[in-house]
Symmetry: C2
Subunit: 259 residues, 2 copies
Amino acid sequence: MKNEITLIKVGGAVVEDEDRLQRLLTDFAAIGGRKVLIHGGGRKATKVASQLGIETRMVGGRRITDAAMIDVVTMVYGGLVNKRLVASLQATGVNALGLTGADMSVILSDKRPVRDGVDYGFVGDVRQVDGHRLTALIESGVTPVMAPLTYDGAGHLLNTNADTIAAETAKALADCYDVTLIYCFEKKGVLRSPDDDDSVIPVITPEDFERLKSEGIVSDGMIPKLENAFDALEKGVSRVIIASADNLDGTQGTVIKKR
Amino acid sequence: MKNEITLIKVGGAVVEDEDRLQRLLTDFAAIGGRKVLIHGGGRKATKVASQLGIETRMVGGRRITDAAMIDVVTMVYGGLVNKRLVASLQATGVNALGLTGADMSVILSDKRPVRDGVDYGFVGDVRQVDGHRLTALIESGVTPVMAPLTYDGAGHLLNTNADTIAAETAKALADCYDVTLIYCFEKKGVLRSPDDDDSVIPVITPEDFERLKSEGIVSDGMIPKLENAFDALEKGVSRVIIASADNLDGTQGTVIKKR
């Protein structure tokens, strides 16, 4: 029987809310056994970029990462956000280690090709997560804290969506572990009515997903999040849950099921 | 017989000179066997702070690190500088891992107390380097790349002089390894005449050091660097060399000797 491991992905909005973040870190520290924290970046990078006189350009809700912007996200995500999380977790007794994909080459990615005339710049699509390296760290008692930055194998960091990093890391660890992946954010789960915080959909199967999409109940950023979740389940991850950052124990929120 | 390990400390001025840095990284990659890179920060933090509207205050050549400034140095040293070094080293085949003192609590420090009315703020004096953790990483084939940031054990990163981190790390590794510590910078070694780049003093013993200080040949930042070096030698480090970033093989520069 495989050992259990819990992967928690925390979004930028939670990272930026100091009170909520402290509660989340306390709850994360209370999770027994092996665990990994994956964090997003949030708007702090946009704010720092603006103060540095660097314009933030978005296409279809996605950040264009030029040479100046990859330096900013490396500073903010890889430095400020990641190291503050590591320091805070150490204070709660979690032996945290901050990682980008370049550290020990744990996450290799490919620079996204120009498509339909859109050049996203230094943005990476994950090619491979080194599950062996991560497993060795985890078995030595370390809790990886992963920033949304990957490595192109040729000297460059690439900006990468944290939801994707969470799903790919979960898949890579599924060979060795019984993996629970929890996407946590500011809502209680996937909501039937966006304005009703208690309208959490308890379970979503692939058939439900198609229906919810066609009904327009699931849209925008939730679609790739759910696609990532189903992909992770297909590739051996045991459980995927979308929940509030205030409920890390997996007892509430929306459970994503293979069938 | 202990295995050999080489620690290279590279200063901020080298980190900021792109051509010189690339040569240094190539030379670092060529060093056989176990190794560690410790880097300084340089003026980039001052520049970023200024762009973010944060004033840099210095007392006696040392940076006052208030709450806003520790965020800046965490971004710049722990994020930008550290992760770019890691990515560049990975591209040369070195299995680099970026570390601050908070990561796995490898370097604990004490916040410097207010003395003579001067509050340096979030500045740390090293208490303990975890040689066991570092040794385990190194023996697994990893090359630590250490940023000039330490950890207070209570959730906070502290700004710490990179020369000190290099010496303390060298001492902590001396239990397990035959340690060579090379401080490399933009000059060829400790110079007898600051304007003559070929006036390198080949060897400095403690007696030489006292004479050179009294003659004013060694002054300013070189004094704590040499004090760090002698302390490291007293605590079991085998060799300390002060050399040019262009000569990492230890065949040139100034050799610091115990007697």
